[in-house]
């Protein structure tokens, strides 16, 4: 049982685990049909929905990327002329303005994503660990921490935009007027600082999710582990390092990955913060693609950029899963868990 065995990857779960369905089948009375058909039946609703809402539109999107889909053809997109790889070559021609802008936007997005995911995870995990203990006001604090998550995105981001204003915003009021940290009020929504502004908003919006998931993950760590460690003389810091963090690994693996994918594709935050045209320093790729398709009415180019993005993310995810799976598979002394298991059973 236990969290550590659970750390086997969904992807590689096929390998290492005995399943009650097959290996221990004989214990069960229902016949083969039920036994072997059941998993498929259980998966069916999810599968159908994913096909309908995600996969098929994705395929259509890929098809669109080979077409010249401008306003002249959107009325019946199947009639749009095929353009072969034109949309792609244009997107990756980094010497020409379109490709150059895309590359720039891509790099900005990479930097932004790494920082944002890192901070969200760090703050979320730290907060979750701090809130393990019962103390007065814990429930209230927990609810407060989920407030950024509960506010509608539009409201939250527009409030930040409001705070980041040059003349009347709270941020400049504090930094410049009250603390005197800057010679003159800074611009946060245009120019180079916009990257910082975007990052702050994104972390503010994003960390409660990490907090939520890690908090739920922490509940699965058997307290006996801590008790055993305490008996061994491990302090709080050591317990966190030796038990909490390793036990969180399976949760973290998925958490960091989806945070990465969402942040990379985040559209709402930059859109509400900056409007249709983001400053160059904060030109995230999803907004860039939106501009290249919806605003300029060229859905072919937009699709091609999305397909490139998809390929990149597939690659990153593949490498990530490969590396983290290897890391998890490395022995991390599940002995204690085994002991506990026998005790439980």
């Amino acid at each position: 049982m236990t969290t550590t065995t659970a750390s086997a990857q969904p992807g590689e779960r096929t390998v290492g685990k005995s399943s009650p369905g097959t290996a221990r089948g004989p214990r069960r009375r229902p016949g083969r049909i039920r036994r072997l058909g059941l998993p498929y039946l259980l998966l069916l609703p999810a599968l159908l929905l994913e096909l309908l809402v995600h996969l098929v539109p994705m395929v259509i999107g890929v098809v669109m990327s080979f077409k010249e889909l401008t306003q002249f053809y959107i009325r019946d997109w199947t009639t749009a002329p095929w353009t072969g790889l034109d949309n792609f070559t244009m997107s990756v021609d980094f010497d020409a303005p379109v490709g150059e802008a895309l590359l720039h936007s891509f790099l900005v997005t990479c930097a932004f994503t790494v920082l944002s995911v890192g901070l969200c995870w760090l703050i979320g995990t730290a907060a979750a660990i701090c809130m393990q203990d019962t103390f007065r006001g814990r429930g209230l604090l927990r609810a407060i921490f989920l407030v950024p998550y509960a506010l509608p995105v539009y409201a939250a981001v527009i409030t930040w935009a409001f705070m980041f204003q040059h003349d009347n915003g709270l941020v400049n009021h504090v930094l410049h007027d009250q603390l005197g940290l800057t010679d003159k009020p800074s611009f946060w929504l245009i120019g180079d600082n916009s990257f910082v502004a975007l990052l702050v908003v994104s972390v503010w919006k994003g960390w409660p999710f990490a907090f939520l998931i890690v908090m739920a993950g922490l509940q699965n760590i058997p307290r006996e582990l801590y008790e055993a460690a305490a008996l061994d003389g491990a302090g709080v810091w050591q317990q966190i390092r030796r038990i909490t963090l390793p036990s969180l690994r399976p949760v973290n693996q998925v958490l960091v990955l989806v945070l990465f994918l969402w942040t990379f594709n985040d559209f709402n935050t930059p859109f509400v913060l900056f409007g249709k045209a983001a400053p160059e320093a904060a030109d995230l790729i999803s907004l860039h693609i939106y501009q290249s398709s919806f605003v300029t009415w060229n859905f072919g180019t937009g699709s091609a950029m999305s397909v490139l993005l998809l390929l990149f993310l597939l690659l990153v995810t593949g490498v990530y899963l490969f590396l983290t799976s290897r890391a998890t598979r490395a022995p991390r002394t599940p002995r204690k868990h085994e002991e506990r298991r026998t005790a439980d059973a």
């Binding site: 019946d76 997109w77 040059h166 919806f294």
Partner: protein, 438 residues
């Protein structure tokens, strides 16, 4: 087990097939019909202070129309943030309203989709003829030489709004009529936390409207006669530079305006922090912001010669809302009747009064309501010195590309970086390269 798996496979294939048919393009593309003559769907744009206000203005009129014709109009007021996306998806799928409002600068782009009913002579006849409309408003209904894709519904124009008290305090007796005067006036006022002129530096559309007019004054058009982008002509560069220089060189615009995109310049004006704004039909907004009608004045926007007129004396773009009909409507006759109703003299007077705009219908303009302090200047501007934005199918790309260039130049100016003819030209060249090449 086999049977179950077969069922699963079957279900998957079915859903795939279903989805595949879904790929088969959108519209039941053909022409419209009159299959449901008793009903219409109408998407109105948000003209008043909130969608609920609009509903209150429009619903009684729709009831009137139903009484006259027996046709029930289902109204939806679509917020601006959604309108273009809604129209695009409606166009793609063929699932849209029968009648809708569009921003008049979208006319040519939407015309290119072929989804809107062209207003040829025959259709115009049904609503009383083309001659009923003001020429400048008709100029913003589609590519020249083609049948308009929409008919004008509400018109608006730019004018110079000024704060009377601030002018008096600075000893200024009359509003500036030329740009030189405007800069001189602005410099007199721009001190001690007060500023001469307000701008919306991060609002792409507003940037376009301003530099387009300045371009006209420099003899530049941003597009060649055959519709190719021409952003880097000397006139265009000079126009953009002149606009940005109001902040960068003349320093009559506060640097903070570089990030404005939510009409903050209007609230600055209403609070007496800036003395002038160039805006379209702002009177209603001033009122909600707590400014009394006698506190502000309005004058024609400045031109080099001091007297607005055609071409180089242009001082406004033709702003406004058009009304269009979806070609595949199943109540085409009803739709044209509805357009006729909405553009009738009586409705035009009533609706434009409610929204503070100017009727694009000549006969309706005679109403005294359009001859007040606030509206006379706008009406005059529309009649004599307003020009339509380029009516090309790439208009929205133009707004994005050049609007962004101006936004970035403002950001440079605000950060204290120099704005030179070269830097302007470079930004515009980059914008031009992002336009679709044909």
């Amino acid at each position: 087990m086999r049977s179950i798996r077969a069922a699963a496979v079957g279900a998957v294939t079915l859903s795939l097939a279903l989805a595949a048919t879904a790929c088969g393009g959108g519209s039941s593309s053909g022409g419209g019909s009159n299959d449901s003559p008793k009903e219409l769907t109408y998407w109105a744009s948000n003209q008043g202070a909130g969608v609920e206000v609009d509903k209150k203005v429009l619903q009684p009129e729709l009831d009137k129309f139903e009484k006259e014709t027996g046709i029930k109009v289902k109204l939806e007021v679509v917020p601006w943030s959604d309108l273009l996306n809604r129209i695009l998806t409606a166009t793609t799928s063929g699932q849209g309203p029968d009648v809708l409002n569009i921003g008049n600068t979208w006319s040519a782009s939407l015309q290119a989709t072929g989804a809107l009913l062209p207003w040829d002579a025959k259709n115009f006849e049904k609503i009383g003829g083309r001659d009923r409309f003001v020429d400048s408003a008709l100029g913003s209904t589609g590519v020249q030489g083609q049948d308009p894709a929409a008919v004008p519904l509400y018109s608006m124009a730019y004018a110079l709004y000024y704060n009377k008290r601030m002018f008096a305090d600075a000893g200024i007796t009359k509003p500036p009529a030329t740009w030189d005067e405007l800069v001189a006036t602005g410099k007199k006022i721009s001190k001690g936390g007060k500023w001469g002129l307000g701008a919306e530096g991060a609002n792409l559309s507003n940037n376009i409207h301003q530099v387009f007019v300045l371009g006209k004054q420099h003899g530049a058009d941003f597009f060649t006669a055959d519709g190719k982008p021409d952003f880097t002509s000397d006139g265009a560069v000079a126009a953009v530079k002149q606009y940005v220089d109001l902040m960068a060189a003349d320093k009559v615009v506060a640097p903070g305006n570089a990030e404005y995109a939510q009409n903050q310049s209007l609230s600055d004006f209403a609070k007496g922090r800036t003395a002038m704004v160039l805006w379209q039909t702002a009177s209603a907004t001033f009122k909600t912001m707590g400014m009394k009608d006698d506190e502000w004045g309005v004058a024609p926007a400045p031109v080099p010669s001091g007297t607005p007129g055609a071409d180089r004396a242009t001082n406004s773009m033709v702003a406004g809302i058009n009304m269009a009909v979806f070609k595949n409507s199943d109540n085409l006759d009803g739709a044209t009747r509805f357009v006729k109703f909405m553009t009738s003299d009586a409705e035009q007077k009533l609706l434009n009064k409610a929204y503070g705009s100017i009727p694009p219908v000549k006969a309706a303009q005679s109403d005294p309501a359009f001859n007040t302090q606030a509206t006379a200047v706008l009406r005059e501007t529309l009649a004599t010195s307003a020009a339509a934005l380029p009516q090309v199918s790439d208009e929205s790309q133009f707004e994005t590309a050049v609007g962004t260039a101006v936004k970035e130049l403002f950001a440079d100016a605000a950060a204290g970086r120099e704005v030179t003819t070269e830097s302007v030209k470079e930004k515009l060249a980059k914008a031009q390269q992002q336009m679709p090449n044909k």
